[in-house]
Subunit: 284 residues, 2 copies
C-alpha cells in the first residue's frame, strides 16, 4: 500500500495519530521536499518518528517514481507531504503510476494553507480561486495572477495568494558548469507580494485592486507564533511579519460585520482601516 | 487558554498528536455538535481519549459561550470541531467573545472537506467559491446556489457543493407543543443534490450547467471506504454512493489531461464520459 500522509502546517506533532501509526510500521518513509517546507528540520522528524526518512526531491518523484513504489504491492510505503497531499500539488502523477502498477493507495489528510487560512477570520465560502505569486526578476515578471485576482474581485470573492519559495536553486554559473551547488533558500514575504501586486496594477491600470485595497498578511500559519496583520496593500508592502512562511489574502466585497470586527483587531492602523473600509466597501 | 481543535474527517485517529495532547490535559473538553458530524460516535472518542466530552449544541455555543469559556483565563479548555475549526463555520463569535474576556486562544488545525476534496483529482487552485445545498421542501426551494455556481463556471472554475445535514430537527407538531423530540437525522445524498440542481436549471433555464455537465460524487471522504464517481449530473442523479457524508463537485473548464485521466477511471460510464467531455470541454 502506498500511503500519502499529510504532515500539517508547522511542528512534528501536527501529524495525525493514524499518520504516525503508518510512519512507524512502513517499510520506507519518503518526505516530499520540493513544493513546500515544514517549519521544522528533517532531523527533528526522524527523532520524533524514531526512524530515518528519505528526502524525495522533484527529480526522484518525477523520474524515479518506480523506486518509490517498489515493493508497495505487498509492503507499506509512506510518502509524507507538508500540509495535505492534495494541497498545492496533487501528486496525481504518482497516483496514476501506482494505479498502472496496480498498487493500492490511501491518503491520510491533514490541514493545509488552503483550509487553515480560515483562521484569518474570513469565511472560506467566500474565497475564489487561489493564485501563486512568483519572485519577479529583471526579465521575468509573470502577471497571470492579475486576471485571476480580478475575476475573484469582480464577483466579490477573497483571493489567497501563495508565495514563492526558492529551494535548491542554482546560480546560472553553477548550472552551466554542472556544479550541484545550491543558493540559500529564499521565501517571499507578504510585503514583497504586496509590492509586486502594486507594480503590476500600476503597469496595467485596469483597477483590479488599488493601493487602498484591504488585505491580510499572514505568517507562520498554524504555528504557536503565527501572525496576522490587516491593512491596505500599501501598508502591507512595508510591514515586516518576520520569519517565513508568509501568505496574503486580498479581501473581496463579501464580508460580514463579525468578520470585519475580527480582522480590524489586527489592523496596522485602525483609523486608516476604518476609513478605507468605508471607501472600499461602502459601509461601516 | 481556549483551544480550538480540528478532529479531521473520519476516525478518532484523525486527531493530531498536538491536538490529543491538549485533549488529555484540558480541564474541560467540548465537542461542537451542530454543523457537521464525525463518522464515529461520541462514546468512541471518549474511550480513545480516556475522558468524558461535553456535547456543545448550537444553543450552548450561541447563548452560553461564557459557560464554555469559564475559567479559560487560567485553565485549558478544548473545543473540538469535526474537520477544521475554520471549515464551514468560523466560530468567529466564540473567538470574539474570548477576545473580549481577554482569554488567549490557539487553533490546532486539521483536514476539512475544503482541502481534502483535492483527493478527487482536481487541482484545488481551480476551485471557485464553495456553495451549500439545502433540502428543498414543498414551500422552500432556495436557489441562491445557482448564481454562485454560474459565477464559478463562467470563469472556468470547479464548484464544491456541501450538502445539507438535518440533525436535532423537530417536527412542526413537536415544535409547536414544545416537545424536545427530534426527528431521525437526515443527510443529503449527492444524487439528491444533482436532482435539485437539475430541477433549478430546468426552472431557470439560464444554462449555468446542464444534465450533461460533468461532476464528481464523493462519499465518506477521508475514511477507508471513501468513494468517488464521475459522470454527468443526470447519471449522478440516480447513482447510489451509500452511507453519508456525501458531497458533489461540478467541473469547470480548467482541467488538465492528467486530471481527466484520473477522474475518468471512476466514471459511471466511461464511453459516456468521453463523449460528454468532448462536447462540454471541446477536446479529448
Amino acid at each position: 500500500m502506498l500511503y500519502l500522509i499529510g504532515l500539517g502546517l508547522s511542528s512534528e506533532k501536527d501529524i495525525t495519530i493514524a499518520g504516525l501509526e503508518v510512519v512507524k510500521k512502513a517499510s520506507r518513509v519518503y518526505l516530499e521536499a520540493y513544493t513546500s517546507i515544514l517549519m521544522i528540520e528533517k532531523d527533528k522528524l526522524e527523532e520524533f518518528y524514531g526512524r530515518s526518512i528519505i528526502l524525495a526531491d522533484r527529480e526522484l518523484v518525477e523520474s524515479s517514481s518506480d523506486t518509490i513504489l517498489s515493493g508497495a504491492e505487498t509492503d507499506d510505503v509512506a510518502f509524507l507531504v507538508v500540509g495535505d497531499p492534495f494541497g498545492a500539488t496533487t501528486h496525481t502523477d504518482l497516483l496514476l503510476r501506482a494505479r498502472a502498477l496496480k498498487i493500492p493507495h490511501r491518503t491520510i489528510h491533514n490541514a493545509s494553507i488552503m483550509n487553515a487560512i480560515g483562521a484569518c477570520g474570513l469565511q472560506l465560502y467566500n474565497f475564489g480561486q487561489t493564485v501563486s505569486m512568483v519572485f519577479f526578476t529583471d526579465t521575468w515578471r509573470p502577471a497571470s495572477f492579475y486576471d485571476r485576482v480580478r475575476e475573484n474581485r469582480e464577483i466579490g470573492l477573497h483571493t489567497l495568494l501563495l508565495l514563492d519559495i526558492k529551494v535548491k536553486e542554482q546560480s546560472l554559473e553553477n548550472l552551466i558548469r554542472g556544479r550541484k551547488v545550491y543558493e540559500k533558500p529564499r521565501y517571499m514575504s507578504m510585503a514583497e507580494c504586496a509590492q509586486q501586486m502594486l507594480e503590476i496594477e500600476n503597469e496595467k491600470g485596469e483597477g483590479a485592486y488599488s493601493e487602498n485595497s484591504l488585505a491580510i498578511g499572514v505568517s507562520r500559519l498554524g504555528s504557536e507564533n503565527q501572525q496576522f496583520v490587516s491593512g491596505t496593500l500599501k501598508e502591507l508592502s512595508t510591514a515586516d511579519l518576520g520569519a517565513p512562511l508568509h501568505s496574503l489574502v486580498l479581501l473581496g466585497k463579501r464580508v460580514h460585520e463579525l468578520e470585519i470586527d475580527y480582522i480590524r483587531e489586527f489592523a496596522i492602523d485602525k483609523e486608516s482601516f476604518d476609513r478605507v473600509f468605508v471607501e472600499e466597501h461602502g459601509k461601516v
